[in-house]
């Protein structure tokens, strides 16, 4: 899918894009439906897929998988639609931006190749960590909301999140520090 998305960005081929659409649109709609009505989810899915097409020339496979990139576009549209907030993001071309000392091109490629490993790691997370991820990623719940929903202290939510991220990072072959 990542190669396909990069090709769409380069060639602007509508038929290739339709393949991406068939794969991702039902998933993006399911994602949107976790926080909104079915009608809102359909509209936001369409908005997301149009944005994917329009921004596809900016997609760089070495920086992450297609699913990750599409997730971030869907996430930002969801925040805008349901919370009327922005998701502030750094700008790599900003004069104050501090770049990496040495570009870690290999590590980035490894990231893409490790998507399967990441999925496997998600499957092995303990149920209490999966629950916290589900509430944070799909239900737009803040840390204190999650603590209230699960009747656990805020510190427990934070530590479950930290444990989950550490495990996912090691699955991606990154530093666990």
């Amino acid at each position: 899918m990542s190669e396909l998305l990069e090709t769409v960005g380069r060639t602007r081929d509508v038929e290739l894009f339709e393949q991406l659409f068939r794969h991702f649109a039902p998933r993006v709609k399911a994602y949107m439906a976790r926080t909104g009505s079915a009608a809102a989810a359909e509209e936001l899915m369409q908005e997301t897929m149009v944005a994917v097409w329009k921004k596809s020339a900016l997609y760089d496979r070495s920086k992450g998988a297609a699913s990750t990139w599409i997730f971030t576009i869907a996430r930002n549209l969801r925040i805008d639609a349901f919370r009327r907030e922005k998701h502030p993001e750094f700008d790599e071309n900003d004069p104050a931006f501090v770049p990496e000392a040495a570009p870690a091109a290999d590590a980035a490629m490894e990231n893409v190749q490790s998507v399967e490993a990441l999925k496997a790691a998600l499957d092995t997370l303990p149920a209490d960590q999966v629950e916290v991820l589900r509430l944070a990623y799909f239900e737009d719940r803040s840390q204190s909301d999650i603590a209230a929903a699960l009747s656990v202290p805020l510190g427990t939510v934070k530590s479950r999140m930290r444990l989950a991220v550490a495990k996912l990072r090691s699955a991606l072959g990154g530093d666990t520090a």
Binding site: F71, A74, N76, V98, E100, A101, N111, Q143, V165
Partner: protein
Amino acid sequence: MMPRHHVDDDLLLSYAAGSLAEGWSLAVSTHLALCPECRARLAAAEAAGGALLEAMAPMPVAADAWASVRDRLGSSVPAEDRRRPAQAVIPSPLRDYIGGDVETIRWKAIGTAGAQLRIKTSDGTTQVRLLKIPAGQPVPEHGHRGRELTVVLSGAFSDGAAVFARGDIEDADEEVQHTPTATPGADCICLAVTDAPLRFRSWLVRAVQPLLGI
């Protein structure tokens, strides 16, 4: 110099998930702009979002969904004509919220020492401001409920044994009674995000003292 005080994984995860309110997210993204290490760590949390999206049970889309999306496929995003200064102290996106770099800020005095600028976000649950603490002065002692994120933009402050310099982020909860003090030599400018109004206790007490006759 790279930051030495970083964003905790729980905040990175909430930021990546999109469930972190805009005010906190502004502090996180300001640190991220200045910290390659945390950007690399963010990648795992965003990849988790991708993997979770990939694993979702697909939901049927409207029968005419592809047709209507296809009709909306215009040209690609026009070449970015975003204006960027040649250099800046405050990184984007924070600089965009302020509307300019340090020299454009119209500071408002707080108490006898220091100044602040309130920053507006669309998020009603946090309070976001820039603080300017004169060199060598303590940040007016503040009690806060809940979390407080502070990101140093210029100068530095010390808090106990730790020194926070440009890019460093301090994550303090209500259990931390801290007395950050700007290091000598230069004013310290930092971004401070709280979820309850900062109460600058010492100057507030000073202001109230005469009224109470204490």
